[in-house]
Symmetry: C2
Subunit: 346 residues, 2 copies
Amino acid sequence: MNDKLLILRGNLKANLSDVAKEAGVSAITVSRALRHPDKVSKKTLDKIMSVVDRLGYIPDPAARALAVGKTNVIGVVVPSVTNNVFSDVMRGIFETSEGSKWQIQLGNSRYSPLEEERLVRTFLSQKPAGLILSGLEQSEATSKLLMNADCRIVQIMECGPAPYDMMIGFSHIEASRVATRHLLEKGYKKPGYIAARLDPRSQRRLQGFEEVTTAAKLYDPARIVTTPRPSTVTLGCELTADLLSKAPDTDAILCNNDDLALGALFECQRRGLNTPNEIGICGFNDLEMMAVANPAISSVRTHRLQIGQQAMSMMDAALAGPEPDPSVIDVGFEMSARESTNRSAK
Amino acid sequence: MNDKLLILRGNLKANLSDVAKEAGVSAITVSRALRHPDKVSKKTLDKIMSVVDRLGYIPDPAARALAVGKTNVIGVVVPSVTNNVFSDVMRGIFETSEGSKWQIQLGNSRYSPLEEERLVRTFLSQKPAGLILSGLEQSEATSKLLMNADCRIVQIMECGPAPYDMMIGFSHIEASRVATRHLLEKGYKKPGYIAARLDPRSQRRLQGFEEVTTAAKLYDPARIVTTPRPSTVTLGCELTADLLSKAPDTDAILCNNDDLALGALFECQRRGLNTPNEIGICGFNDLEMMAVANPAISSVRTHRLQIGQQAMSMMDAALAGPEPDPSVIDVGFEMSARESTNRSAK
DNA sequence: TTGTAGGCGTTATCAA
DNA sequence: TTGATAACGCCTACAA
């Protein structure tokens, strides 16, 4: 077994003491050379580095984790990997983590609080450096886990009270209030609402719509159509069809997201309803395609990429110190008013 | 330090020997009880389980990894986390892995072979149980790593010769041949092609188009517009505009993917060009929205979800034994012919 | 069916 | 600046 060094190239991987032996130093010195190069004399450092290189030594993360009681893993739990909203957030996270020492591990809770709990439990067992999760509300068990968790936490997508640790997002209810007011300002008198898969954030958006229409005395429950099914463009068509059959005089549709909005537009076109004059359409999130549809579709622009990027930056700062200064960030949103709600004067 | 058990609830986490002491057995027995319950007497098993439960014991994956030299991690490298194609594949992988012992770890190579190499290296250092990656070609260094890798490998998205291990996908060149022939059969004489971000699979699709048009003596390089930029609906509009300015008599557009196809449709509509009569449009992948556009857009249906699901099933089978039987699977594709290429007789 | 001994590769601590 | 020693928590091999 002592001919290990001879066989190294090919099969066995070198470990710390292999490197140490070859370099004529002790294992711990190699360890230091790798982690704190400044605490090792230039000469031994050079020697060690050349051996590391020659043997192709790569540290074993499991051994390190065992010794330190911590990993470089940052666990990310998203409710969906297909939803455009989260893919943008994920992209921001991945982009920003690249080049850093952090290793992103992704979990898909599929909008299930129980699955989220399972994932958090699994992640925590790995002694992660941090955890990024979506939204304000978790199951009670998950909450308890998180409050006692020995790692940094960033909640994303929403802003609200009592963060576990850090937080970045925006107010969904406020965003939908603004969109609803936009419809009213444009002169629509009978606005409807369609929504799929009512997660907590969707529900708050619906609530914003209800508030504003109620205040304007334009609230009509017959013009609200929702379904637990996951959102698609096709579903946007169907929900629009439902809405128009229940309330044919609807003159505008606020859609819970852009897929639905595109579907709504297609469905209205098929029925020969002119958008924006006969029926206004507004989406949510402002995916890039909204701007190039015919007519261009109004939407509420949300800063998904930025949320991912900054969530990761905050995490990195929190872990590397100094503490990120605002530890709760509201990135806001903007109303992107376009043709689809730009009704001619009536 | 021996009052550990007293403090357990709250701060410290129990480890194997804590459980062992409490249960009045040895650590290894607890370990066995957890992994091979049938190799432990019913009585001790019960006792152990109740203690495990009471102390909230959770095994430390790092310690296990160190002892066994393997983890439950399955590394997945995708070229993009935002591209719809890969989100569907990822969804299939996550769905299928759920409930299994495998832990998915996702890496985003952003279509960069170098980044892919870095990711593979990192994954391998974690001694994963398996690796799932996209496509046939890797950098030479990556190839070497993979060939010597001590884990199972599934290549996804494409089918081709010389898999490292397992493989599931389809023939991109054949798929685009079929789509191109479809256009010709529908009577289009001046087909063009637009493509964004030419990864190897996109290139093979372009190649299929070139082959078939050349054979039909309808090949015209002026009608091929490509860009390295990432694909979006907006870009579909732009590329279409480019194509139509370079070759205004183009009567059909084969698009490298569905985003571009939707953009192409929007652009044509904006120019008052009738689809399918003045200009045919065909996409690739058949995202659900293709079927509900106006007109419905023809596309080539690819089985992305299935690829993800089966990739994971094969991996699971390979790891749990027995070996998955065909270890290379061609899931094929289907031409979804719709209105957008259904030209009236001319 | 259960237990003992030893090791996995790294790092913290303390000493030189 | 460097090193010896002892963990970290679990598992394999062998023994009882």
